[in-house]
């Protein structure tokens, strides 16, 4: 079974409780993992630990309108970041989410290059990259992702892929009927070759989705070119062993640095 998330731009009240809760959940994870007391972890400014956060844009001229949305990982079916990661730190769970394992991350930032949605965030101080892992610890324990639990507007929704697509379609149709405007369910179908379909789909007015927020050019990110380069790399370096040793030494060095 695959799971998915839904973000409904039309229902969202822009309260950003999702972002706050993400920050709280991840800080609690830090203390769970022995990286600081539950008080200490709350004082640090760690914006990269909020895997969902607001982005505010606006269009003019006066009287303008703002087009804000929450930025988050799309959990691509084909996960370019995972394919790109040399340390195998990014894993696509059999049930859908794309999970980054901090302990395996070598901080090479290949995933930043690969991501067509500008999602992974690199913390130079720690030499690690962070991104949403759809609260897979919560999912495996039968809990919804923290941001979904936090959403008072039910703009964030979680469930099996089928459920989520059904709900997304239902909402889009209702909005179209009530408001006479076209709505899109973004990510239910493959967005591009590189990403495939998305495990985080978005419902929103078609005009807004196309022009201002989600990146229609996501499909055109030179991921194909990257793929070609990667193949060349495979040929150039030939033997896998060299790579394994290289990676081992590199990540070892990283750990010592910390």
């Amino acid at each position: 079974m695959k799971v998915s998330m839904l973000y409904d731009m039309q229902a969202c009240v822009r309260c950003y409780a999702c972002s706050v809760q993400c920050g709280i959940e991840n800080r609690a994870r830090l203390s769970r993992d022995g990286k600081g007391t539950s008080e200490k972890v709350l004082e640090q400014q760690r914006p990269e630990l909020r895997f969902i956060f607001p982005v505010l844009r606006y269009i003019g001229p006066y009287p303008g309108r703002s087009i804000s949305y929450v930025h988050h990982c799309m959990h691509c079916e084909n996960a370019p970041c995972a394919r790109r990661c040399p340390a195998a730190a990014i894993e696509v769970k059999p049930y859908g989410p794309v999970v980054i394992h901090e302990e395996r991350c070598i901080g090479c930032r290949a995933c930043l290059e690969a991501c067509p949605y500008d999602v992974p965030r690199f913390n130079p101080r720690l030499g690690k990259t962070y991104k949403c892992f759809m609260c897979y610890d919560r999912l495996e324990a039968g809990l919804p992702p923290a941001c979904v639990e936090a959403c008072l507007a039910k703009a964030l929704y979680f469930g099996s892929r089928e459920e989520v697509l059904f709900e997304a379609q239902r909402r889009a149709e209702n909005y179209e009927k009530r408001l006479g405007e076209k709505f899109t369910v973004y990510g239910s179908e493959p967005v591009g070759e590189a990403t495939g379909a998305l495990h985080w789909v978005t419902v929103g007015p078609a005009a807004v989705l196309e022009k201002y927020t989600l990146r229609p050019d996501a499909a055109q990110k030179p991921i194909e070119a990257l793929d070609a380069v990667r193949t060349i790399g495979w040929v150039l370096f030939g033997a896998g062993a060299a790579g394994i040793i290289g990676h081992f030494l590199y990540s070892l060095g990283k750990e010592v640095e910390e």
Binding site: L42, Y62, D137, R230
Partner: protein, 841 residues
């Protein structure tokens, strides 16, 4: 797809490529590792709480692990459960290193900000000594108690009343009292707070948001969750606001109409004008439910030959005036009492035994004649066509439409007129008490946790101003700024002790610099709060309060919701250092100040039985009337709720919704007779009165002049440190620039200001009150307005940054710039109604 790749980038890509084959290996591996246990797992408690990050007390659950609060969740036992981001950031407030840790005693001058640590014993004894002195002198009323976010609810009021002071004064005059309360209260005969109405957002087809941004202010339980349901249902919205309220109106089917600050009243009057002109009102509703058909004299506006009786309310023993009035019966073709008429005439002029009479509705129609959309366009800058379009949607959708009744009203001197006009639109459309319209809020009444105490004899400061000084519409318990008026004038007496329980009376009231000067006359100022604020800077003694998860509290039942709700609050974690709850402080003071027999009579059982005793006392005998309302259920689930209701309580003289308010008529006549110049603010007919600034600027602001407007961010609330000094919220503030001041691009260009500049902001009337702010040049704000989220920066008190490390360095607070002035007749703080200047640094 072909893309140019630079040499550097190519090398980087090559480097990545070297390791890439192992991704493929990884792809084929099945993950053996199971995810780690979620943070909720293992040994935690889940405690019912009521959030106090803002004042609304939304029911929540605190998740406790190893004795620490790790997160907050919404209480799932409610049909409309939800908490906002502020609430979810509670752990960051709780474990904030800036918390006040010990009782502090002032060193040096007030305002200098020098304090030393003292013991609780010393602090309490110092306070008690002063309290004993004023009680022994027979002047207990000189002590003023200012509660807000109080951690002693249920105990503080009885204590101060027993002590002898009637001066328990809330902050509501700096919020919704009484422009909102009486502007709308005119129709119902008693003050209607923002907690008196709920908009049926889920069932409404169309709504106008003016003076409320339900997603920015975000009182989640239940307005926020209802509002969100309305959004999911696909309702249409128009927001009338000085700035684009992105929280409320982003998305399809929603529109922003920018309005000139302080002119909302003109917009509502034009709506009423259009509705009347197009006969878009609900005729049957006006006839049946309101006093629209009442025959009045067109000159004096007095009802024609009414029958006035006085009834004694069996419950309160108070006398109540009842008016039975005459109408023109279209069937019998004569004047009769309304209850005798078959078809009372709604409009028209009648000649009755030589006297010219008109219906009240006719008078309203005549009064509205001049308020056309074109007239309103000149004042509000909203195009007449847009006003007509809004009126059109309201007429077509009625009664499943609303003009939101709003909340924080006390921004301008003319707000009572504004809310009166707003109420008129809703009354014409007949949306009160209708599905999809506006409902009244049902409440359960609980007992107090202590035995009933006698009322103090001395006159309350606010009541004095209500009775004697031309403010008949003050709500007496809501008038903290009249404490300062009493200090200024010495009338009715000079307050000598200010005890602020969570109230930031300086940072939160218009005219902070003037208020500070008046404090010289006060002998003792005590501030109890978890974080430093403007008022603490001037305190003699600061008491470190707990944050809400660190204490038990009385049951609460005053929610802004469509169904009666009672919610529990239990201590989840231990307070840090020497922080103590207000309930403990009040008990300690009671022991030290009251006579032993007084203490035993009123506090004895509570002091032995604690909150367990208090809660049982609050609920005694209520289960019969409200099945399931038991302490056991509240302890387990945290909440109890009853049935949803639309009913609005009416206390008018006629017993109907008074579209022509007889109470306004009575007060207006009286004020006129006394020669009071501002009497027209209580005019019973629709009337436009401009805000203070309009008169001062003669309707035209200069190039560098603005009206500074504020609104709530869903990530900040009041001037309390729990939100404005919160490390987690600060992260997001920085991401979206919550501390910025919004300015229109044309205005910015004229002043040579660019986006991101730091500017100096100050009021025209006090050029020394200067604050710095970062500017956001954006077409999302009206040219006449500067917009800032409320209370996000240190304003004119940069020294606050010493105590509040997570507060932005720059940012304005309108109260610092405003004046110690009062809105006519109702006493609101009219804080935005001053002219503000901006200059480059």
């Amino acid at each position: 797809m072909q893309t140019k790749i630079s040499r550097r980038k190519f090398l980087k890509l090559g480097g990545i490529a070297a390791f890439s084959p192992f991704v493929r290996l990884g792809d084929t591996l099945k993950p053996k590792e199971k995810a780690p246990d979620p943070v909720d797992y293992g040994g935690e408690r889940r405690v019912p709480l009521r959030c106090r990050m803002c004042a609304q007390q939304c029911p929540a659950i605190g998740v406790v692990k190893d004795g620490r609060l790790i997160k907050m969740e919404a209480n799932p036992h409610l049909p409309y459960s939800g908490i906002c981001g502020r609430s979810r950031s509670t752990p960051a407030a709780l474990y904030n290193p800036d918390r006040l840790k010990y009782p502090l005693l002032r060193l040096g001058k007030r305002g200098e900000g020098k304090f030393k640590r003292i013991s609780w014993e010393e602090a309490l004894e110092r306070i008690a000594a002063v309290l004993r002195k004023y009680r022994e002198k027979g002047e207990p009323e000189r002590v003023v108690y200012l509660p807000r976010f109080t951690s002693a609810a249920g105990l503080d009021k009885p204590f101060w009343h027993l002590y002898g002071t009637p001066n328990i004064l809330s902050y509501a005059d700096t919020c919704h009292s009484a422009g909102h309360d009486w502007g709308l209260g005119a129709y119902f005969g008693h003050p209607m707070t923002p907690g008196a109405f709920w908009m049926d957002y889920p069932n409404a087809r169309f709504g106008v948001l003016a003076m409320r941004n339900p997603a920015g202010g975000l009182c989640v339980y239940q307005f926020g969750t209802l509002f969100a349901e309305g959004r999911r249902n696909g309702g249409r919205l128009v927001a009338v606001d000085v700035r684009f309220p992105n929280e409320a109106v982003e998305g399809a089917g929603r529109k922003w109409l920018p309005i000139r600050p302080g002119t909302d009243g003109a917009f509502h009057l034009a709506l009423a004008h259009e509705i009347v002109k197009r006969k878009g009102y609900d005729e049957e509703y006006l006839r049946r439910e309101t006093n629209a058909c009442m025959l009045i004299d067109p000159e004096t506006l007095e009802p024609f030959e009414p029958e006035i009786t006085e009834k004694v309310d069996p419950k309160t023993k108070k006398k109540k005036k009842h008016v039975r009035y005459k109408v023109w019966d279209e069937v019998q073709k004569k004047v009769v009492f309304k209850d005798e008429a078959q078809q009372p005439a709604l409009r028209g002029e009648f000649n009755v035994s030589g006297r010219r009479l008109i219906t009240a509705f006719e008078a309203i129609v005549q009064a509205l004649k001049k308020y056309s959309p074109e007239w309103a366009e000149k004042i509000t800058t909203i195009p007449a066509a847009e006003i007509r379009e809004v009126a059109d949607q309201l007429i077509k959708g009625k009664p499943r439409v609303f003009v939101d009744t709003g909340w924080y009203s006390e921004r301008y001197g003319n707000v009572m007129r504004q809310f009166h006009a707003l109420g008129l639109v809703n009354t014409l459309l007949g949306v009160w008490e209708k599905k999809g319209g506006v409902g009244g809020i049902p409440k359960v009444k609980l007992h107090g946790p202590l035995p009933k105490v006698p009322k103090p004899k001395a006159v309350q400061i606010t009541k004095y101003y209500q009775k004697k000084k031309g403010y008949p519409f003050i709500v007496p318990k809501a008038g903290r700024r009249f404490v300062f008026e009493a200090l200024r004038t010495g009338e009715p007496y000079e307050p000598k002790v200010l005890f602020a329980m969570g109230q930031n009376f300086i940072g939160g009231s218009a005219g902070s610099p003037e208020l500070i000067k008046l404090l010289d006359k006060v002998e003792l100022i005590v501030c109890m709060t978890p974080f430093m604020d403007e008022s603490c800077l001037y305190a003699d003694i600061i008491l470190p309060d707990t944050l809400f998860p660190e204490r038990d509290e009385a049951l609460h039942f005053k929610f802004k919701q469509s169904m009666p709700t009672v919610a529990m609050h239990m201590k989840a974690v231990e307070p840090p250092f020497e922080a103590r709850p207000g309930s403990w402080v009040i008990l300690e003071l009671a022991k030290r100040v009251l006579k032993p027999e007084e203490f035993e009579k009123y506090f004895g059982e509570f002091s032995r039985g604690g909150w367990e005793y208090g809660w049982r006392k609050q609920l005694a005998g209520l289960e019969k009337k409200h099945p399931g309302l038991t302490l056991e259920r509240l302890k387990k689930e945290g909440v109890w709720y009853g049935k949803q209701s639309y009913k609005i309580k009416k206390k008018t003289y006629t017993g109907e919704i008074e579209i022509f308010s007889l109470l306004f008529l009575e007060k207006w006549k009286k004020l006129k007779a006394e020669g009071y110049p501002q009497a027209d603010h209580a005019h019973p007919l629709p009337l436009w009165i401009p805000p203070f600034w309009w008169k001062e600027a003669k309707g035209k602001l200069k190039d560098d002049e603005f009206i500074l407007c504020t609104g709530f961010s869903p990530l900040n609330s009041f001037t309390g440190g729990q939100t404005r000094n919160n490390p987690l919220l600060l992260e997001i503030w920085n991401q979206i620039g919550v501390d910025r001041v919004w300015i229109h691009p044309d205005r910015a260009r004229k002043l040579g200001i660019s986006d991101g500049d730091i500017v100096e902001v100050f009021p025209v009337h006090n050029t020394r009150a200067v604050a710095r702010a970062r500017v956001w040049v954006t077409p999302l704000v009206h040219p006449d307005a500067l917009f800032s989220y409320y209370g996000v920066g240190p304003g004119i008190f940069p020294q606050l940054k010493r105590y509040l490390a997570f507060m932005p360095e720059y940012g304005v607070n309108i109260n610092h710039f405003s004046k110690l002035h009062f809105a006519p007749l109702q006493g609101g703080h009219a804080t935005q109604d001053v002219i503000i200047k901006v200059r480059r640094v």
